[in-house]
């Protein structure tokens, strides 16, 4: 077996040193009636590299890759171009095959990268301090709700109806097992989000208000107004962002009164990968809140010679120290995805991010204008960044499925996201990025025209 270096000669010599008759004898503590005498039955035996690659390639070929379609899917996962050097760097063995940097003297590469990453995320979000990443946006959303409860010592959570339903569902699922009370809602199909309705739901028991920006329908809320209302009631404003590229074009939530900003970082450097692994970003505007944060934090210090270096710090918040009293049960972060994000963000810089965001927005506006010309199609949004909602004269889910057969991935139907909600059947969420061509937009427009006529 190509991954096992020991030879039978090695094994014999080692068994002699141990004083055991065989490898099987080392398993004497396993009850003999339950010990398997040979490989688990009914499963294939070892295979060559060539054979495995062939098998996996066959499976991969059964999927329609985004590059081979006119592609408009978003809804929390976006297709962006990732520069070749990003993938080269994350495949360097020193990054790829390193462990969590618990031994800082020989992990300065990972640690300095995390320190840079934390600073990049904090600046992007308009916040003071970001952590070293969480699993993904949806789990970060629950962590933010839990943290708001610790900070305010309150238990009532107000979720915007236009929060990504998977994020809301993760929060509701976790809250079943704590004492948090979740007040959620469904999105109403209006050109502007119902900020007044959201503000009206805040009371003196509210620990936090959770708002997505841009929201699940691609609309933009007036965060400062919601922040003022939340703060007047003693609650925190938690802002969720699922498209970090947007922050190259729209104001950072941390500059608009948000207390906790979190989101999905997959757009920058990570890729689609059928939903994971992704990258949870998490930041706070008030440095006093840092000791209530979940997840790992990297901090600056000095070594014995006075040279600057970095370490994981404030770990008394974490499970391996605090056990049942920890701020979260999280052990790992999403280090390699954080590296991909950080490398891509370094290649972009402010100028590149701004230009990338502008190009996304330009193409999305062109798409919205073109699709609005199709009979039976209207654009819901007044405002959007690179994703907007179409209302079709027909069942959006069926149309998406039919168009997929012709190699057009038209977007995500609202029914796919909100299967139980009534009145959303005609809604289609369409995302456009720099990878979308004007030809793709034309393909979608004619395909919709054909289906709706």
């Amino acid at each position: 077996m190509r991954y096992l270096p020991l030879t039978d000669t090695d094994r014999d010599a080692m068994l002699a040193k141990i004083g055991a008759a065989s490898v099987d004898a080392l398993f004497d503590d396993v009850p003999s009636d339950l010990y398997l005498k040979g490989p688990v039955e009914g499963l294939p035996l070892h295979a060559s590299e060539m054979a495995v690659e062939k098998h996996m390639r066959r499976l991969s070929k059964q999927n329609l890759a985004a590059a081979d379609a006119a592609f408009f899917c978003g809804a929390g996962a976006y297709r962006h171009h990732v520069p070749a050097s990003v993938d080269h760097i994350i495949q360097r063995g020193e990054f790829l095959t390193a462990y969590t940097p618990y031994q800082p003297e020989i992990a300065q590469g990972t640690l300095q990268m995390l320190f840079e990453f934390q600073t990049q995320v904090a600046r992007l979000y308009g916040c003071a301090i970001a952590n070293a990443s969480l699993y993904d946006g949806s789990t970060a959303c629950w962590e933010a709700v839990a943290m708001a409860g610790r900070v305010t010592r309150r238990k009532r959570v107000v979720l915007s109806g236009a929060l990504h339903p998977h994020y809301a569902e993760v929060v509701r699922t976790m809250a079943k097992f704590t004492e948090d009370r979740i007040a959620g809602a469904r999105p109403s199909l209006t050109a502007m989000p119902d900020d007044d309705g959201l503000i009206a739901r805040i009371d003196d028991q509210t620990s936090c208000v959770v708002v997505q920006y841009p929201d699940v329908l691609g609309r933009l809320s007036d965060l400062q107004r919601i922040a003022d209302a939340a703060h007047d009631a003693g609650a925190l404003l938690v802002v969720v962002n699922t498209e970090p590229v947007a922050l190259g074009a729209i104001e950072a939530p941390g500059n608009l009164g948000a207390d906790i900003v979190l989101g999905e970082g997959q757009s920058i450097g990570v890729g689609l990968q059928f939903g994971g692994p992704y990258l949870g970003l998490f930041a706070v505007t008030n440095p006093k809140h840092v000791r209530q944060m979940p997840g790992r934090l990297c901090g600056e210090t000095v070594d014995a010679d006075g040279k600057r270096g970095f370490v994981l710090t404030l770990s008394t918040r974490e499970q391996h120290i605090r056990r049942e009293k920890a701020t979260s049960n999280i052990c790992t972060n999403s280090g390699l995805c954080a590296l991909a994000f950080s490398v891509h963000m370094t290649l972009l810089g402010d100028k590149g991010l701004t230009a990338l965001a502008a190009e996304n927005h330009r193409l999305a506006a062109i798409a919205a204008d073109r699709l609005a010309k199709v009979p039976g199609v209207t654009v819901l949004n007044d405002h959007f960044f690179n994703e907007f909602t179409l209302m079709l004269d027909g069942d959006a889910r069926q149309i998406v499925r039919d168009l997929a057969d012709d190699g057009v991935l038209a977007g995500v139907s609202l029914t796919r996201l909100f299967p139980d909600a009534e009145g959303l059947e005609n809604g289609l969420l369409v995302a456009v990025t720099e990878t979308t061509t004007e030809e793709d937009i034309e393909t979608l427009a004619s395909a919709l025209q054909e289906k709706l006529s």
């Binding site: 991954y3 790829l96 590469g109 689609l272 990968q273 692994p277 014995a304 404030l314």
Partner: protein, 518 residues
């Protein structure tokens, strides 16, 4: 203001620097690298900026950003060099033995990386119509089949993002099952030697935790456990093999006793690498167990994630699994992704959703590639070699280091030592830092908590005998120095990119993001 004011380019005299100072602060291949904020600028970039053609009226309204982000950029050559320089300050499995107990740092085959990057896996969206992704569902199903067969369980929830997330999934399944029979209960029992995630997980699921005492051999004290069981105990969380590196001989009896008392058995699968293909947790009475794909099935650790923690479930718990999951249709054999939009009967008792989308697909492809390469025979052999390597280390060091459970029978995949033989004033940390100078990553330190100054060594099956012999030689020398009170250990490491870092200072005055010098 940053802590030290030091920056690259400023030589700082240390022992070796003082003898042969350099003006750059670099030392040949040991290159100092500034932060991107110190070398980049907001005008620099390393991507092609788009040249817009057609125009459309902007739709940002009053939401448009007013100021820049302040994010620094670098050109592509600078970027590649910056990160390459950083990478060389990292130890990694590709460089040498990484004997971290409980972490299973085995070789990461590069075929796994190649496969994960095939466009049909890397460039597919989680919400594409399912008719366009049968191969992705096929990967999930095929991997799920392996996990179920290897563990002797009935179902698997694939979506948890990491080991601790998997623990949460398993405990929430248990809680949902108990609540479904109107018997919520409030206590989870956890051995003192457990990973910290276990009690943290139980607390997040709304349970109180209590310790299960260990016997003198480092295993669960069966009689003490039986005495504590009762109508208030929801579950026990057992790690098997346990964190002392020992197989819990009484596992079946533990499970039977817990079931008899109306509770359920959670197994922390962090150490599954020791027993895969040799004994099945399902046969030991386990109801739920997470599997760390990044440990047992070699998806890369990546400097701290991403992990992946699917949870295998017994028949009793399967109906409570979180969405989404993949099911084979009993009649047609066709694969179906069960999620909110199409769940009927299957959804009735599911406890909810743990994450957006379907879980760590990129890790599923890597793990499946690894599993198919080994096959059922190779996995069984890997477990055997992992255990053989650990016992070889144990028996090659137990004459110079204290092995607290050395008499308790063979160890499993990891060998545990204490600081018993060290001279006054020399700590496990000192020995670990000495190991860095010898060219190895230290072992897990001060865990499990039940052993004083614990050193937990897990070599894994992918180490050659030569590598083990070199490690043993280094450890024997360090054990001798620790016993003799060698003061130079207290200032180790001496040859790493940094000398010992002041962790207390970092916590006292946290500097968590870069600020320009005032």
């Amino acid at each position: 203001m940053n802590a030290s004011g030091w920056k690259p380019g400023t030589p700082v005299p240390s022992d070796s620097d003082a003898r042969h100072p350099t003006v750059t602060g670099n030392r040949a291949l040991m290159l100092e690298e500034p932060l991107i904020f110190e070398i980049g600028s907001t005008d620099t970039y390393g991507v092609d900026l788009p040249e817009p053609s057609g125009e459309a009226s902007p739709r940002l309204g009053k939401f448009a950003r007013k100021n820049g982000t302040g994010l620094p950029g670098l050109s592509e050559p600078q970027t590649v060099r910056h990160y390459t320089r950083l990478s060389r300050q990292n130890y990694a499995i590709d460089l040498g033995l990484f004997p971290l107990g409980s972490c299973t740092m085995k070789h990461n085959p590069r075929l796994n990386e190649k496969v994960a990057r095939m466009p049909g896996f890397a460039d597919v969206h989680p919400l594409q119509p399912t008719s366009t992704v049968p191969g992705a569902l096929g990967v999930i199903d095929e991997l799920a089949h392996w996990l179920v067969e290897l563990t002797g369980m009935d179902a698997v929830a694939m979506s948890p993002k990491a080991g601790a997330h998997g623990e949460l999934c398993g405990i929430l399944c248990i809680r949902a099952a108990l609540e479904a029979r109107g018997d919520a209960r409030e206590v989870v029992l956890v051995p003192e030697s457990a990973h910290g995630t276990n009690p943290a997980t139980a607390a997040f699921a709304g349970y109180k935790t209590e310790d299960i005492p260990a016997d003198k051999d480092g295993r669960v004290d069966l009689e003490a456990l039986k005495a504590r069981l009762g109508p208030d105990v929801a579950a026990v969380m057992i790690t098997n093999p346990n964190t002392c590196g020992l197989f819990e001989r009484d596992m079946k009896a533990i499970s039977d006793a817990v079931h008899e008392a109306g509770g359920l058995v959670y197994c922390d699968g962090a150490n599954f690498n020791a027993i895969m293909g040799r004994v099945r947790p399902g046969d030991l009475g386990v109801d739920a167990m997470h599997i760390n794909l990044h440990k047992t099935f070699s998806t890369p650790h990546g400097g701290g994630g991403p992990g992946s923690g699917p949870v295998v479930l017994s028949r009793a718990l399967a109906p409570f699994a979180p969405l989404p999951f993949v099911m084979k249709d009993a009649d047609s054999g066709e694969l179906r992704l069960i999620e909110e939009e199409n769940a009927g009967e299957e959804l009735a008792q599911s406890f909810g959703r743990m994450t957006a989308f379907h879980g760590q697909m990129g890790m599923f492809t890597r793990a499946l590639t690894y599993i198919l390469s080994h096959g059922a025979d190779g996995l069984r052999q890997a477990a055997g070699d992992a255990v053989l390597n650990a016992n070889y280390i144990l028996r090659s060091l137990d004459d110079v280091l204290d092995a607290p459970f050395g008499e308790a029978g063979p160890c499993m995949h990891e060998a545990l030592f204490s600081d018993e033989t060290f001279a006054e004033g020399i700590s496990t940390l000192d020995l670990a830092k000495g190991l860095i100078d010898e060219g190895f990553h230290p072992m897990t330190m001060y865990f499990p908590l039940v052993v004083h100054g614990a050193m937990l060594v897990e070599p894994t099956e992918t180490e050659s005998k030569d590598a083990l012999d070199q490690f043993i030689m280094a450890m024997r020398s360090l054990a001798e120095r620790a016993k003799n009170g060698d003061e130079t250990l207290k200032t180790a490491p001496h040859h790493a990119p940094r000398s010992r870092l002041d962790e207390a200072h970092a916590a006292r005055k946290p500097v968590l993001s870069w600020l320009p010098a005032q």
